[in-house]
Assembly symmetry: C2
Homo-oligomer: 221 residues x 2
Amino acid sequence: MSDSSNLQATQRSTIRRIPKRGSREIELIYSILDEALVAHVGFISNNQPVVIPMAYGREGDRLYLHGSPVSRLLKTLERGVDVCFTVTILDALVVARSLFHHSMNYRSVVLFGKATLLDSEGEKMKALKAFTEHMIPGRWQDARIPSDRELKGTTVLSLPIDEGSAKVRTGQPQDDPQDYSLPIWAGELPLKLTAGVPIPDTQLIPEIEIPQNLVNYHRGA
Amino acid sequence: MSDSSNLQATQRSTIRRIPKRGSREIELIYSILDEALVAHVGFISNNQPVVIPMAYGREGDRLYLHGSPVSRLLKTLERGVDVCFTVTILDALVVARSLFHHSMNYRSVVLFGKATLLDSEGEKMKALKAFTEHMIPGRWQDARIPSDRELKGTTVLSLPIDEGSAKVRTGQPQDDPQDYSLPIWAGELPLKLTAGVPIPDTQLIPEIEIPQNLVNYHRGA
């Protein structure tokens, strides 16, 4: 990946529907991965598809996966089964004159690959830093770092970012030509994941200020 | 489903990790399905897991699926392959004193089942109404209804809501006892998908007001 600005084209990652919305440009893929907070990770368990929300972090061309269902996932992944890693950021509702042409503006990434278990504590520490900085940039400096016991008890998966694509829809509705004269409102309703006021833990010791990276929290550029 | 307030327990829908966060209560499951906007639908294609974001609607104990990748999905689903339908609503970042205990508050639903193609135009019309009202309550009255031609050209899948579960995390971080005395801020940072100011289509005919269901748009109760 490091010597290329695009992901490779493969059969399973080819965008069949509305291919003009697809992209393999790596900077776009990274920007979507860095802005989203939760991935939906699909794998096959007992011949059934299973899709689980997971937290993740990125470091260069690797993703680190971490999440509560890791025990079930690990039983599968240790045997080397493929995963599909998908993130979606919703940007707007697309409101058309016809019900049929209602849509959404979004940015999504779908990646394919084999996830592997991290085994060294050094790698796990790097992965935990990637999780933390993905969720709250700067938090790594602000909180207690993981102990040896915590690292030993942590299971983290690593997935290469080398096969997949982004898909993006932007802009106005696309109504049928004869509908543009209808007296019906049409346009976009922007949507954004926004942070509210931080809620202090009830057991917080006195006189600790809310960190600036939480006061000014936002996703994306 | 109609005579029960809980989904059935099955092997593949059993929550293995932190089962106290799990629920099969149907009203909770419906409330999460109705608030989320995008589902991540997993299926098996050429022995690989594939996870695709899709729009959806609910009518009673059925989901209707609709989305751009429908052509690839249909090739698989027409053969009766199982899907896993997952939605996740992110409610807060959980900020702990230790990096290890950082987490997220969320509400998710994972459903399993076989999706089937709708074939009658009457069913498709009901499904399109469910999509529209899921996305923007009241919009069905405000825009041009689908034509016969549009209904014929639409592919919609139906999935029963009868196997699966919800999972919910709420509340404060759970730090280790000895960390509560550390001078580190901890608590929750609430997150919510919020709507901005509607952007009119550049070809909108004059003097059409923005509908109230877009001015006051929000998800959830």
